[in-house]
C-alpha cells in the first residue's frame, strides 16, 4: 500500500492507482512522477472523480492508464488547449496536464506562452527527459548541443531551449522544476502547483533510462532552491536562477497571484458550460436586430 504520514494523518494514494502495471523501462523517470502525483492527489484530499488528467503523446502519455481519475489521452502537443477547454467548461474540476519535452516544447510549444499569459488555472507537468523516448531516441528541443542521438549521429547541432526562462518570460504565475529522482520533493512541488490558483508550470527532469541515462550527473548537479534562501516572489531572482547552467536548481522558482482566466467569464459560470443541460433559448430579442 502506497501511503505517507502527514501531521499524524495517514494518506492513501492507492485510490489513484488503476492497478495496471506500467510498461515503462526499468529505471524510467516516469515512475517517480507517477508515484509523486498519486501521493500529491491523495494528500490534497481529492477524489478521483474531481480530477482530470490530460496526457500527450510520448512515454509520459501512459500516465492516463495508470492514474485512477478522469483522463483524456490526446494527440501530440495539444495537452494545454484541451486542458484549457476542460477547465473553462467546468472550473470545479482539478485539471492536470502531463506532457513530454517533445510534446510541450517541440510540436506543442505554441500553446505554452499563451496558457501562461492567460493564467488558465491548470497545472502542466512536463516529463522532461531531453530525448524522444517512444520514437526510440531522437533529439528534442531540450537535448543538449552536441549530444549524439539517432537523429543527430554527428551531434545535436541545435542549442537547447530553456523552458523555465520561457515560462517566466511568458507570465506564468507558478514556475518550478522537479527531479524524478527525489520523489518526496517532487510530491511537495506537485501539491503546491495544484494548490496554486492560475497557471502552474512544473518541468520535471526525468532521465530516460534507455536513451539518455543521466541520473548520476543530475544527482551530482542538483540543489534545492529553498536550501539557499531563494525568494520565490522575485521574478528577477527567478530569471537569474533559470539561467544557471553549472548547477541545476530544483524547487519553486517563482510564484505570484493574479486573477485566473475564468474570472473573465462570471456571466457564464452559474452553472458553468459543462454543467448545463441544454434548454430552449429565447432569441426574440436578437431577431429585432435583423429587421
Amino acid at each position: 500500500m502506497d501511503h505517507g504520514i502527514y501531521g499524524g494523518v495517514i494518506v492513501v494514494a492507492e485510490k489513484f492507482d488503476t492497478g495496471r502495471r506500467p510498461v515503462w523501462c526499468p529505471g524510467c523517470g516516469n515512475f517517480g512522477i507517477l508515484v509523486a502525483l498519486r501521493r500529491a492527489l491523495a494528500r490534497l484530499g481529492l477524489e478521483p472523480e474531481e480530477v482530470v488528467l490530460v496526457t500527450g503523446i510520448g512515454c509520459h502519455g501512459r500516465m492516463s492508464g495508470y492514474v485512477r481519475a478522469n483522463t483524456f489521452h490526446t494527440i501530440h502537443g495539444r495537452v494545454l488547449p484541451l486542458a484549457t477547454g476542460i477547465k473553462l467548461a467546468n472550473p470545479s474540476l482539478t485539471v492536470i496536464g502531463h506532457s513530454g519535452d517533445g510534446d510541450a516544447y517541440a510540436i506543442g510549444l505554441g500553446h505554452l506562452p499563451h496558457a501562461a499569459r492567460r493564467n488558465i488555472d491548470v497545472t502542466l507537468i512536463v516529463h522532461d527527459n531531453m530525448v524522444f523516448g517512444l520514437t526510440t531516441g531522437q533529439a528534442t528541443p531540450t537535448t543538449p548541443k552536441g549530444r549524439i542521438t539517432r537523429s543527430t549521429p554527428y551531434g545535436n547541432p541545435e542549442e537547447p531551449l530553456n523552458p523555465l526562462f520561457l515560462a517566466l518570460a511568458s507570465g506564468a504565475t507558478f514556475v518550478a522544476r522537479g527531479f524524478s529522482g527525489d520523489i518526496a520533493h517532487l510530491e511537495e512541488l506537485i501539491v503546491r502547483a495544484i494548490r496554486h490558483e492560475g497557471f502552474s508550470f512544473l518541468d520535471v527532469i526525468q532521465p530516460c533510462a534507455t536513451f539518455f541515462n543521466i541520473y548520476r550527473e543530475v544527482r551530482r548537479r542538483v540543489y534545492k532552491l529553498e536550501d539557499e534562501g531563494h525568494d520565490t516572489r522575485s521574478l528577477e531572482a527567478a530569471i537569474r536562477k533559470s539561467l544557471e547552467t553549472e548547477r541545476i536548481p530544483i524547487g519553486v522558482f517563482f510564484e505570484t497571484k493574479k486573477p485566473p482566466f475564468r474570472e473573465n467569464f462570471p456571466h457564464a459560470m452559474s452553472p458553468p458550460p459543462g454543467q448545463r443541460v441544454p434548454r430552449s433559448v429565447d432569441l426574440s430579442h436578437v431577431w429585432s436586430r435583423y429587421r
Partner: protein, 565 residues
C-alpha cells in the same frame, strides 16, 4: 401605394469608406419599405483602399440572387463609376466632386449636405443613400430609423448621420422631378421575416441548440461568427475565447465538450486544414464537436475574400483513418440557422464531429427569410450528477446503436476515460485485433442512424419536371432565381453531404430524364458524389471557380441549352 416591383442598387467605393454599412442600411431600408431583399458584397483583402461594393436587390417577391444589371449606383469614388457603368439601367449618383467631368452621372450635393449638418466627411455615404432614396421617392423616415438602429451603439453618430441623410434626401427633390424614375413602393416589411446573413444565422442556430462554449481564431469569412458570439456572450452566458491558433481552438472545443459543454468553432479552409488532426481525435474519442467551415477560394490562401465550394471532398474525407461524420451544407440563412441547431443536436446524439459547410457568399450575404422558430435542443445519452449502473462505468461501452452513454467528468461513481489512441470499452489503450475491430465496428454502427437522419432532412426539391438540376449550398440561390419562370425544371438541393442521402436523392430524382449539376468548383465534387453513391452520370455539369457566386443569367443560359437540345 403601388410603386415599382423591383429595385436593384449598388454602392461602391474604396475600402474604409463604409461601403458595407451603406449596403446594409440600404437593404434594411428597402425591407422596411415592404420589399424582400438580398445583398451581396465583394471586396479585396485590404483594410483601406481597393475597390469594394455591395449590391442589394429588392423585390415584392422572394429574391434569391441578384443579376448582372443594377438600377441605381451610388459611387463613392470615380473607380466605381468606371467599373459598374456598363451594368446600370437607370442612374449613377456621385458627389459633385466625383461626378465632375463624368458623363451620365448625377452630381449630387453629398459633401455639401455633410458640411451643412456639420458631420464628419465619412458620413458622405449616408448622404448618398438619402439622395438616392429621394430620387426614388422613398420614405426618408424609414431610412433615418434604420440609421439609428445600425449606429445604435453611438447615439450621437446615429443622429448626425440621420440628419445628413435627410438633408441629401431633400436636395434630391428637384433632380427627382427631372429624372422621373419609377418610385419605390412604400409598404410594411414582409410579415414574419428578417434580413440576415449566413454567419449570424448559423451562430444563432447554434445558440438555439444550447451552445455554451465557443473558441475560434479569426479567419475570413468566418470571423463575423466570433464577433457576434463575443458580443452576445454576456446576454446568453457563453464562454467565448480567441485562442492562439485553429489547432488550439478545436482542442479547446474538444476539451469543453468532453467536460459537458455544447461547443463549437468556425473557420475557413486554411484553418480547417490545421484542425484536421483534432477532427480525427474528436471522432476517435467520440467527443461531440461542431466545426463551421466557411469556404473561400483556394488552394492555399487563394482568394481570401471570395467564395467557393471547392472544399466539399476535403471536409468529407479530412483526417487519417475512417470514421463517420456529419457534413451539413445550408444554402440560405434560414437553413444555416437550422444547421447550427441540428449540428449540436446531432453531434451530441451520435457523439461524432459535425461540420457545417458554408461559403463566403452565404456567410456574408444577406437574405430575407422567415424568422426562425424557437427550438428545443435534446441532451442525448448524457450522464450527469451520479452514475448508478451496476457494472463500473465504461466510456466506450459497446451498444446496439454504437452510441455509449457519455458521463461528464465530475459525475459521482464514473471515471471518464477518453482516449485518442485505439482503446477498449474502458478507454484503456489496446492493439488487440479483436478489440480494434470491435471498436471500429462500434463507431461505424452509428452510421445507420446517421444515414436515416440524412435521408430524412438531407434533400429538398423545388418545383417539378423532367429536367433535374442538382445543386448544394449557396449556389441553390442562383439556380432558384434562374429557374423561377422555367417550365419542366425541378431543382434538387442536397443539404447533407455526409453521410450521403443516397436513398432520398434517388427518390427525388425519379422520373427525371436528364440530371444536371451546378456547383462553384472546377472538378464537379457533388457530381462525383452522384457517380459514387447513385452510380449516376450527370448529363451536364456547370462549374465556376473565379471566386464569384453564379449569376442567375449564366445558370439560365446554360440550362436553356439543355432544354432546346
Amino acid at each position: 401605394m403601388s410603386g415599382r416591383e423591383e429595385f436593384t442598387f449598388l454602392v461602391g467605393g474604396p475600402a474604409g469608406a463604409g461601403v458595407f454599412r451603406s449596403g446594409l442600411v440600404a437593404a434594411k431600408t428597402l425591407f422596411r419599405h415592404g420589399y424582400y431583399v438580398h445583398g451581396d458584397n465583394e471586396y479585396p483583402s485590404i483594410i483601406r483602399g481597393g475597390h469594394q461594393w455591395m449590391m442589394v436587390k429588392a423585390a415584392k417577391r422572394e429574391v434569391y440572387a441578384h443579376g448582372e444589371e443594377v438600377d441605381a449606383v451610388l459611387a463613392l469614388d470615380k473607380e466605381t463609376v468606371a467599373r459598374h457603368r456598363g451594368r446600370v439601367r437607370e442612374v449613377i449618383v456621385a458627389d459633385e466632386s466625383v461626378a465632375r467631368g463624368l458623363e451620365g452621372v448625377v452630381a449630387a450635393p453629398l459633401m455639401r449636405s455633410v458640411r451643412e449638418v456639420g458631420a464628419p466627411s465619412v458620413a458622405v455615404n449616408m448622404a448618398g443613400l438619402g439622395f438616392v432614396l429621394g430620387l426614388y421617392r422613398g420614405d426618408v423616415g424609414r431610412l433615418e430609423a434604420v440609421i439609428r438602429d445600425v449606429f445604435s451603439k453611438k447615439r450621437e453618430v446615429a443622429e448626425v448621420n440621420a440628419r445628413v441623410a435627410r438633408r441629401a434626401y431633400e436636395y434630391a427633390a428637384e433632380a427627382a422631378g427631372e429624372l422621373a424614375l419609377e418610385p419605390l413602393s412604400i409598404g410594411e416589411p414582409p410579415r414574419g421575416k428578417i434580413v440576415i446573413d449566413g454567419n449570424s444565422a448559423v451562430a444563432l442556430g447554434a445558440l438555439a441548440g444550447g451552445l455554451s462554449f465557443y473558441a475560434a481564431y479569426p479567419m475570413t469569412p468566418a470571423s463575423p461568427i466570433l464577433h457576434l458570439l463575443a458580443e452576445l456572450q454576456k446576454e446568453y452566458g457563453l464562454v467565448v475565447v480567441q485562442p492562439e491558433s485553429e489547432i488550439a481552438a478545436i482542442n479547446m472545443v474538444t476539451g469543453a465538450a468532453y467536460a459537458g459543454a455544447r461547443a463549437m468553432t468556425a473557420t475557413s479552409g486554411g484553418g480547417f486544414s490545421l484542425m484536421t488532426e483534432a477532427l480525427g481525435q474528436a471522432a476517435m474519442t467520440e467527443t461531440p464537436v461542431v466545426i463551421v467551415e466557411a469556404m473561400r477560394a483556394g488552394p492555399s490562401t487563394g482568394l481570401p475574400t471570395y467564395t467557393s465550394q471547392a472544399d466539399l471532398r476535403f471536409v468529407i474525407h479530412a483526417s487519417q483513418g475512417e470514421f463517420p461524420r456529419f457534413v451539413l451544407a445550408p444554402g440560405d440563412p434560414y437553413e444555416a440557422y437550422m444547421a447550427g441547431f441540428d449540428a449540436l443536436n446531432l453531434a451530441w446524439k451520435y457523439q461524432v464531429p459535425v461540420i457545417v459547410l458554408t461559403d463566403k457568399y452565404l456567410a456574408e450575404g444577406y437574405w430575407t427569410v422567415d424568422e426562425p422558430p424557437r427550438l428545443e435542443p435534446s441532451e442525448g445519452k448524457v450522464i450527469r450528477g451520479e452514475y448508478r449502473g451496476e457494472e463500473p462505468y465504461k466510456r466506450y461501452k459497446i451498444t446496439p446503436d454504437g452510441v455509449s452513454p457519455m458521463a461528464i467528468p465530475g459525475t459521482k461513481g464514473a471515471l471518464v476515460t477518453a482516449n485518442s489512441s485505439e482503446h477498449g470499452e474502458d478507454g484503456y489503450g489496446s492493439t488487440d485485433p479483436e478489440v480494434v475491430t470491435a471498436m471500429q465496428d462500434k463507431r461505424f454502427r452509428k452510421l445507420s442512424g446517421m444515414i436515416e437522419e440524412a435521408n430524412g432532412k438531407g434533400v429538398k426539391t423545388y418545383g417539378g419536371g423532367p429536367l433535374a438540376v442538382v445543386t448544394w449550398g449557396s449556389t441553390k440561390n442562383a439556380v432558384l432565381e434562374a429557374t423561377r419562370d422555367m417550365y419542366g425544371v425541378r431543382v434538387v438541393q442536397v443539404l447533407y453531404l455526409s453521410p450521403f442521402p443516397s436513398e432520398r436523392l434517388s427518390r427525388e430524382l425519379e422520373g427525371a430524364d436528364r440530371v444536371l449539376v451546378v456547383e462553384a468548383n472546377k472538378t464537379g465534387q457533388l457530381a462525383s458524389l452522384l457517380r459514387e453513391h447513385l452510380l449516376l452520370e450527370p448529363d451536364g455539369f456547370l462549374g465556376k471557380y473565379d471566386g464569384r457566386p453564379f449569376t442567375p443569367e449564366e445558370v439560365e443560359e446554360w440550362i436553356t441549352g439543355f432544354m432546346e437540345g
